[in-house]
């Protein structure tokens, strides 16, 4: 499972970066979404994958059992936060790109040189 998710993260980073290197605005956004989710998978995988175990301390115990079959609830919480943040940022980016497209009249990133001189 780890290997599978590691490959998935790698492929998403690669394809996200590839999309960002394209010249079109829309592909830029797709690229940003992809690498954002790739980072979430990295957190998920490196936080440790456990199947079917609860994130709970057994009743009456004061600390975690030494049994490693315990799901860490923190990585999902981190990912949830990251997803909400990226939701806000991506929707801002979509509006920005739309405005930029209306103002500049092209969706070609190579046409946007006027601030780079």
């Amino acid at each position: 499972m780890h290997t599978l998710l590691a490959i998935a993260a790698g492929v998403m980073f690669a394809s996200g970066l590839y999309m960002m290197f394209r010249r079109s605005f829309v592909k830029l956004i797709i690229g940003l979404v992809l690498i954002g989710h790739a980072a979430n998978i990295v957190i998920f995988t490196s936080g440790g994958l456990v199947r079917g175990a609860p994130a709970l301390i057994p009743a009456g115990e004061a600390r975690l059992p030494d049994d490693p079959a315990f799901t860490d609830p923190l990585p999902p919480a981190l990912i949830l936060t990251a997803i909400v943040i990226s939701f806000a940022i991506i929707s801002y980016t979509i509006v920005l790109v739309r405005r930029a497209y209306q103002a500049i009249g092209t969706d070609d990133l190579d046409q946007m040189r006027s601030t780079d001189k």
Partner: protein, 575 residues
Amino acid sequence: MDLLVASPILLHLTAGLLCVVAWKSVPAQRVISIVAALLGPLVAGLLLVTVHNSGPQTAALAGWPAPYGIVLVGDAVSVIMVALVAVVGLAVVVYAMGALDKPRERAGYHPLIHLLLTAVNGAFLSGDVFNMYVWFEVMLLASFVLITLGGTRGQLEGAIKYVTLNLLSSVLFLSAIGLLYGIVGTLNLADIAVKLPLVDAPGLKAVIAMLFLVAFGIKAALFPFFFWLPASYHTPPPAIIAVFAGVLTKVGIYSILRVFTLCFPQQLAEFADVFVWIAGFTMVVGVLGAAAQFEMRRILAFHSVSQVGYMFMGIAIAGVCLAQLAIDPAGDEQTGVLRQAAVVAVAGTMIFMLHHGVVKMNLFFISGIVMKLRGTAELKHLGDLYRTHPMLSLLFMVTAMSLAGIPVLSGFWAKLVLVRAGLDAGAWWLVGAALFVGSLTLFSMVKIWAEAFWKTTPADADKALAAHDESQGGPVPGVEPRAGQGANLTLMTIPAAALTVLAVAMGVGIAPIYRAAERAGEAVMNPDQYIEAVLDAEYLERLDEHRAALGLPPRRGGATVVAEADPTPSPEDPS
């Protein structure tokens, strides 16, 4: 008290939210905004004094103790930054009331600026690395909207570059956090500092450290990640960009300082050469870029890059010291010098951040006043300002000379401290580069002075400007209405004058600032105080027992460089 540490965040958050609720009424927003901006320095001052008198302050949210809950930590380093934010916030709010055009003010300038200040304070006070990420994102979102406020073509183009690169940096930051959590199982900075040396994964640690360096390096505009800054910083009006120049890049530098000295001192030492090269190239490339520019705001934007290099230089020198100490940890003569040099280098970074926050913001203020007066900041269309506006010229002269590092002004001391630390650490060519860049900075400032203030205005300036407007198909992006239409020049000049006085005062009265910065340097280089303030004694005792059971040397968190000679091997060595 608990609440004091959180108060810089809560103050601006409350102000920002009240401004949102008062969306329809700009006068109400102005009142809320200025009251919060005036309270800012009070709160920051109180925090500064408290931390000075009784050590690092912490606040555990909802009473959950570290490392399980979210903590805010105000130590000698972060309170200095919070104080800078307070000064910057007050100056920019007053300036914006005079400078900002009505549509932009109605479109939510006040709520956004306070949310930005909230997030910046949050990033400085955050005690764990994930919260730092969350504050970074809040800061980015506020800055994204601010940089596009008004929506001119130039702004939108600049914003796309700014947004893309900053989002990339966020993703790298998030991945680094994920990997770090995977190997230490904690996100609290103090807890990481204690536990990371126990982990035997040198390769993975190096990868995580470099991910953090790249992520923060993009935010701080370090070489080779700085391209977004000159492409976007000159596009919005000065009332917006001044606050970016004042604090935003410093958040990146602060984060590098905090994360590397606390969690990755071994990597800081290991990659000291990389840090030195980055610092050198950032300084040189920024200043050379500025030399090729002939528009005030573009020159200032490139100089920001170069100045970030100076701030980074302090961290790089501390890394060089740590690297040499790691080779020869035993206490001979040289060791004491190196330890002191590391402290002084960090103090230099702190002073430079204070100096640069004040001075660069003021230069953007002055460029804004020039644009209001003449309708452009292109040097070839300017002239005569010395004859028509002698007071403004004086303000510019003093501030620009401070940036260039002329003696007794704030920039001189900032550079002197860094150069001294660099000489003590033996980083000769970095010091050479710093001095060379200083002279080029002077050249750039004199260029602005000669072109904008001294020479006679070209006879065809107005015609050329109109032709320029025409060729661009309308007014040049970011160009303000001519001759101060709808602007209150008095309100714009007051903060500019106040910051100029502050720059002089920081130069003349450097002693207390240096002492505060040196305390910050000691806090960074001896992070045990920080760790003990954040984690409770019982928890640390259990960790120490665990260490002893593993047969490890006694705990010394982070980049500890104790003053007395200590025969134990390097603290970073886990074996």
